[in-house]
């Protein structure tokens, strides 16, 4: 992939560059918002690793421009760990986020998810996602767990479909509400009860969820390696 790293600390870029190059990626660098926009306009990027604390702008403001110009995936790298920043970035169109200091394996996993989504979204419409033990068919609206069909209500299915489409990535509460209720202005309590109903049906131990993970203050993440089939 062609990856742009935007960070005002050159030491972080220095540490990431050799790793990503060794994994076969092509690396571009930017130390501030202005440089970042220049690179976004000039290079055909697949992914931008975006630090939010830039000296000349709030990194969140770059996301719409990156999405429009380059259609690249955006993984936000945040140092302040403020939920409202993460939620704003995701709602602006960022695909995922990691907190500083991130573990390299975690970052590489997120990069792989972004890469997989780019290839699978390459033009064709996906109608079925599968992973070990879990299958979701978007046309017949059937979810199969351990070869056993699970009955989901229409709203439960809508929420699960969104999580499945973004499997491995975080989905904000707002995005879930729009998928389930067509408006972001519903009581968060509704969303929470639907999530717990989904967990009751899909988790081995609903009190210790391993499939539908909560991202505190931000949203939910489907912890499954779903791939289109």
């Amino acid at each position: 992939m062609r990856i742009l790293i935007v960070d005002d600390a050159p030491s972080i870029i220095d540490a990431l560059r050799p790793v990503l190059i060794s994994l076969g990626h092509e690396i571009f660098e930017a130390a501030d918002a202005k440089q970042a926009l220049d690179v976004v306009g000039a290079s055909d990027l697949d992914l931008v690793l975006l630090d939010l604390g830039l000296p000349d702008a709030d990194g969140i403001e770059l996301i719409p421009a990156i999405k429009q110009t380059a259609e690249a995936a955006v993984i936000v790298i945040s140092a302040r760990h403020l939920e409202k920043d993460k939620v704003r970035a995701l709602d602006e169109g960022a695909d995922d986020y990691v907190d500083k200091p991130f573990s390299l394996n975690e970052l590489l996993a997120r990069i792989r998810v972004a890469e997989r989504r780019r290839t699978e979204l390459g033009g064709r419409t996906v109608t079925r996602y599968v992973s070990a033990g879990l299958e979701i068919d978007l046309t017949t609206r059937v979810v199969t767990l351990m070869e056993e069909p699970i009955h989901l209500s229409p709203k439960e299915f809508a929420l699960f479909e969104l999580l499945a489409r973004h499997s491995g990535q975080v989905v904000t509460q707002r995005q879930m509400m729009i998928a389930g209720w067509a408006t972001p202005r519903i009581d968060g309590q509704y969303l929470r009860s639907y999530i717990s109903m989904l967990r009751d049906k899909l988790e081995v131990d609903p009190s210790d969820p391993e499939l539908i993970l909560t991202e505190p203050g931000v949203g939910y993440r489907l912890n499954a390696d779903l791939s289109p089939a």
């Binding site: 600390a9 030491s11 972080i12 540490a15 990431l16 790793v19 604390g53 200091p101 394996n105």
Partner: protein, 491 residues
């Protein structure tokens, strides 16, 4: 009835008697016109002295007496001929008109005088209250104008929860004033302790009460109104002071918030950056899926070590700030030779910045100061480090020590771009990073720490810029010398 009132009446009666006597004498001398004029003059004098009511009474009395004693036929009321009627009627009319005119004039003059003196008094009160900035000053401000008009003292009590407290003395009254408020509306009953209590009412409701200690006679209604006006002004002054205090508190809070913000962004950015580098680099070295050439592995390892050192430095700096914030104890101080500490700081700078150029100037004489040697070395080092970061490439840094009077003066001079305008005041601020330094690593704490340490040794740290040709900055430490040690100690 006051005594003054009785005296006034008596004077009026005496004037009236004199007028009657004068009239009688004139009548005896067969000068009726003079007699009438003397009588009229008496009435006018009374009206002038005592106002409309007294004037009217005098006029009627005069009319009766004139009719009975003086006008024909004497010693009986009534008239017999038209000739007798004319002077009597004329006298009555003249006496009445004169009494009314003069009396009214007198009354309005009196009212104007009272109003004017009241206004002047209230203006004086208002002026004095303007000067009060703190809540405890309000009472002192008003105290300068009372005692006046039966008020011997003023005490202001403010509501605080269920109690009243007096800001000027700090004394607290637990609710015992509350029942007094209800009974205070009519204080003319005199009674216990003779004080009038008026509620202080501001824009946000009741603020408290003001207690006027009274002397002498119970208060007239007008005086009570006067107290109300004073109380309203006191309420305004009290409220203004309360608002001022709130504004100050809000500002102080904003400053703490700003500091917290700076701390948060510093910790998140400056501490997490080295952590991120270390974690990512270590992760890469430890990873099975990443295969790096040997040179890259060496570089990542070096980077880990470098960022560990940086983290250690930042942690030390944050601890130093904590030390300054919590106050440096007197027993941490010792007798130190500034020349020796300066030497240590220069050596430290040379070991950190291998390319640094330092020119040293030290006097021959030896004096001592009270300081903590480690902290003083840190302070001097921080300033040299700052000089190297921003002016070290241009020319050698001059570090000098001189003794001027009872002070040791240590200067650190660089030939960098200099520090100008607002930056000069800000360089010593916590987490401050200038426009140039924003790009460089560091928390922006070095100069703050240097100044904080030196001030704990009763010294000062200042900056002067430019030094030569519009460039350069000179930081100047001034530390008080201690009296020279007795030679006997070394003997």
């Amino acid at each position: 009835m006051t005594r003054r009132f009785v005296i006034d009446i008596s004077i009026d009666v005496i004037i009236f008697m004199l007028a009657v006597a004068g009239t009688y004498v004139a009548q005896l001398g067969d000068r009726p016109i003079t007699a009438v004029l003397v009588f009229l003059s008496g009435v006018i004098a009374i009206a002038f002295r005592s106002g409309l009511l007294s004037g009217l009474v005098a006029a009627i009395a005069a009319s009766l007496i004139y009719n009975f004693f003086l006008s024909e036929p004497t010693f009986r009321f009534g008239i017999t001929t038209a000739d007798e009627a004319v002077p009597l009627l004329a006298f009555n009319a003249a006496a009445l008109v004169a009494a009314v005119m003069v009396g009214r004039l007198k009354d309005s003059a009196q009212r104007a005088y009272v109003a004017q003196s009241e206004t002047a008094f209230l203006l004086a009160v208002s002026d004095r209250l303007q000067s009060a900035v703190k809540i405890e000053e309000v009472e002192a401000a008003i105290r300068a104008i009372v005692p006046r008009e039966g008020v011997s003292a003023v005490e202001i009590f403010l509501v605080r929860g269920d109690t009243y407290y007096r800001p000027s003395t700090g004394e607290v009254d637990i609710d015992q004033l509350k029942p007094l408020i209800e009974t205070s509306t009519d204080t003319s009953s005199g009674g216990a302790g003779k004080s009038a209590i008026v509620e202080l009412t501001g824009a946000r409701g009741s603020l408290g009460i003001v207690k006027f200690k009274l002397v002498g006679d119970p208060m007239e209604r007008a005086d009570q109104k006067n107290l109300q006006s004073i109380a309203s002004m006191l309420a305004l002054a009290v409220e203004r002071c309360l608002l001022l205090e709130e504004v100050m508190e809000a500002r102080a809070l904003a400053r703490t918030e700003a500091l917290k913000d700076a701390l948060l962004s510093s910790v998140s950015h400056d501490l997490r950056t080295p952590l991120t580098v270390i974690r990512a680099a270590a992760g890469a070295l430890n990873s099975d899926e990443v295969n790096l050439p040997e040179a890259e592995r060496e570089r990542l390892l070096a980077s880990i070590l470098e960022h560990c050192e940086r983290l250690d430095r930042y942690t030390a700096e944050l601890l130093d700030v904590g030390l300054i914030e919590s106050g440096i104890q007197e027993n941490a101080l010792e007798v130190v030779d500034p020349a020796e500490i300066m030497h240590l700081a220069i050596n430290q700078a040379r070991s950190v910045h291998s390319s640094i150029r330092v020119e040293r100037e030290v006097p021959r004489e030896q004096h001592f100061i009270r300081a903590n040697s480690g902290m003083l070395q840190q302070a001097i080092y921080n300033v040299i480090d700052n000089a190297q970061k921003f002016g070290g490439e241009a020319a050698a840094i001059k570090v000098g020590l001189t003794y001027a009077g009872d002070e040791a003066v240590i200067t650190v001079t660089d030939h960098g771009p200099g520090i100008f305008g607002r930056e000069r005041a800000s360089v010593f601020t916590r987490f401050y990073k200038g426009s140039e330094s924003a790009k460089k690593a560091g928390l922006g704490l070095g100069l703050f720490i240097a100044k904080g340490f030196v001030e704990a040794f009763s010294g000062t740290l200042t900056v002067h810029s430019p030094v030569v040709n519009g460039r350069g900055a000179r930081f100047e430490f001034r530390l008080p010398l201690i009296a020279d040690i007795e030679p006997a100690v070394s003997a």
